[in-house]
């Protein structure tokens, strides 16, 4: 690999991200924080939800925010740049194997998703403060899971961004992202599905389920969660699978 070229590609994405900072922040944080406010503050404060729901909700919100950020940061530019503006062509002609152009996008998305995950915790903490109980026993485990979640979201963004046509962006969000979020153990723990045994099995094909459960296991281990080896193995597996699929799709798009 040619590291100078790779770093220059990253620097380009950093420049663009810095230029779009304010819309990017609003787009990333507004929705999860409103959700935290209504469900964690208003619903709990008015007695419809128990206080413990605050702690249960936070890891799920963090997972959703990270996945949205990662997918959006990689898929949206790719869809536009391949089909509409074709601006990716200049980077495809850079003196580096085109797979690294895709990997650079994944790294940029991974960084954005990680930053989002790291920032959501204190922001949600400010909103939820009284009654929120976080127990981070092993910070390294939190780091590992955060990176794996960021990785699957940006690799997923690569796979989706290279498979979806511009006219199907809306469909991608309603058919892929929305069910993924609702069946991703985000607003409830996986164990809560024990009364729906078939559904409980089906949601295990959803990578977001492992993301939410993984963050739950490291941030709020007092709640029941999937076993850690299963979570780590599944997240790693999804990272690799989506990266391989994404790279293949990317090559198909880049070379005719």
């Amino acid at each position: 690999m040619n590291s100078k070229t790779f770093l220059a590609l990253l620097a380009r994405d950093a420049r663009v991200a810095r230029r779009n900072m304010i819309p990017l922040i609003l787009q990333t944080f507004l929705q999860p924080l409103l959700f935290v406010f209504i469900f964690g503050r208003v619903m709990v404060g008015s007695g419809y939800m128990p206080v413990s729901y605050k702690s249960l909700l936070l890891p799920g919100i963090m997972a959703i925010s990270m996945v949205f950020t990662g997918v959006w940061a990689v898929a949206m530019p790719l869809i536009g740049e391949f089909q509409f503006t074709r601006e990716i062509e200049d980077r495809l002609l850079a003196p580096i194997d085109i797979a690294w152009v895709a990997v650079e996008k994944v790294v940029a998305g991974l960084i954005q998703a990680t930053v989002t995950g790291v920032l959501v915790i204190p922001l949600a903490w400010i909103i939820l403060r009284p009654g929120l109980q976080l127990h981070i026993a092993n910070p390294w485990l939190l780091v590992a899971i955060t990176l794996l979640v960021a990785g699957f979201s940006s690799c997923g963004g690569l796979a989706l961004g290279c498979s979806v046509n511009q006219q199907h962006i809306g469909l991608m969000f309603s058919m892929v992202m929305t069910p993924m979020i609702f069946f991703g153990c985000t607003y409830y723990p996986w164990s809560a599905l024990s009364n729906f045994p078939i559904l409980q099995k089906i949601v295990l094909i959803n990578p977001l389920a492992y993301a939410s459960e993984g963050l739950r296991a490291t941030l709020v281990p007092q709640f029941p969660h999937l076993s850690l080896p299963l979570i780590l193995g599944a997240l790693l597996g999804f990272d690799i699978l989506l990266l391989v699929v994404g790279l293949r799709q990317f090559r198909n798009k880049a070379v005719s």
């Binding site: 220059a8 420049r15 200049d90 194997d97």
Partner: protein, 339 residues
């Protein structure tokens, strides 16, 4: 010394519609529904292209839309994978070592593909960075190119708001940024006003004088004639003629067109003109004119004048057009380039 660009028996068969950048202007329409009984249509875009472009040459690929020009450029620039055959840039087999090939080339695509999230200056600087230029080198070269392409006053604006002509100039500046050995320009002057076109030609010649090789595609004969030292005429994926513009033009019989105006019309005069040596066809044009197709130009004038005065007719105006590539294309394909 290897040729700057060489291809051997290049073939490309698309199994779906060729992409807009490589297919000659067809939009990327929705793909036809897959039907197992009927295999997807196979479109042969290139059918055995052999080219050789020497170092320091300005080489033109001339042909109508959809002839295979962009596909050829696509293969040479790592964007279209050939079905068979080999393409070399200098001594590098493009499809064996794409990264090494990419170091040697600069590419101006047919459609503008500028980075809309960046300013003009940033586009050049990041492009330089991709090629490993250091920051001093990058900013000096970017400034020089912006100046040369008359873009300095817009250098720090996002290119999103640029006009078509400015975007095209910007694309060419970007392709020149890392000073590539071989510069590919796919239809560089489409949609440019005449003034910008002249600036562009001047810059291309200037770049060529530094010893760089230029391969451009065009369907504009005037451009091919004015710029290129060597031409290949391409149609339906085949090269139908190759040579210098002069050689190519000399290869068509009766390539000169003389448009004559007389004081008045006379049928005997037209008949007399038809008998002059090397004249292939005479057509009456309007009230008092004649179009004369012949194998020579200026040297026919004295004979025309004496033939006319013998019949008491005065020659009032002459326009001679030399053998043109348009005529050549017509000669080889029976179709006009503009069709």
């Amino acid at each position: 010394m290897p040729a700057a660009v060489r291809t051997e028996n290049l073939r490309k068969v698309y199994s779906s519609a060729p992409p807009a950048a490589a297919g000659g202007g067809f939009g990327g329409g929705p793909r036809a529904k897959k039907d197992k009984k009927e295999p997807r249509p196979q479109i042969t875009a290139l059918d055995g292209i052999n080219l050789q472009v020497e170092r320091g040459q300005i080489f033109g690929l001339l042909g109508p839309n959809g002839a295979g020009k962009s596909t050829t450029v696509g293969i040479l620039t790592t964007r279209v994978k050939p079905t068979s055959g080999t393409a070399w840039i200098e001594d590098i087999d493009v499809w064996r070592d794409q990264t090494a090939a990419k170091r040697l080339i600069g590419v101006v695509a047919q459609r503008p593909n500028l980075d809309f999230s960046l300013t003009a200056r940033e586009i050049l600087q990041f492009h330089g960075a991709y090629f490993g230029m250091n920051s001093t080198e990058r900013s000096e070269r970017a400034n020089a190119l912006l100046e040369r392409f008359k873009l300095t006053d817009r250098a720090d604006q996002l290119v999103r708001g640029f006009s078509g002509g400015m975007m095209q100039r910007m694309s060419i500046a970007r392709a020149m940024m890392h000073d590539p050995q071989v510069l590919f320009l796919d239809e560089p002057s489409v949609g440019l006003d005449p003034q910008t076109r002249l600036l562009l030609w001047e810059i291309i010649r200037e770049y060529n004088q530094k010893g760089r090789t230029i391969l451009l595609t065009t369907h504009n004969m005037e451009e091919a004639d004015a710029l290129c030292e060597k031409l290949a005429i391409i149609d339906h994926g085949h090269i139908i003629a190759q040579g210098t513009p002069e050689e190519l033009k000399a290869s068509i019989p009766g390539g000169y067109l003389l448009r004559l105006r007389f004081g008045h019309h006379s049928q005997p005069l037209l008949e007399r003109l038809g008998t002059l040596a090397s004249v292939t066809e005479v057509r009456a044009s309007g009230e008092s004119g004649a179009d004369l197709y012949a194998g020579r130009g200026g040297s026919l004038i004295p004979e025309i004048v004496s033939a006319a005065s013998a019949l008491g007719v005065e020659l009032s105006d002459v326009h001679i057009s030399e053998p043109s590539l348009e005529n050549l294309f017509l000669h080889h394909t029976g179709r006009s380039l503009r069709e």
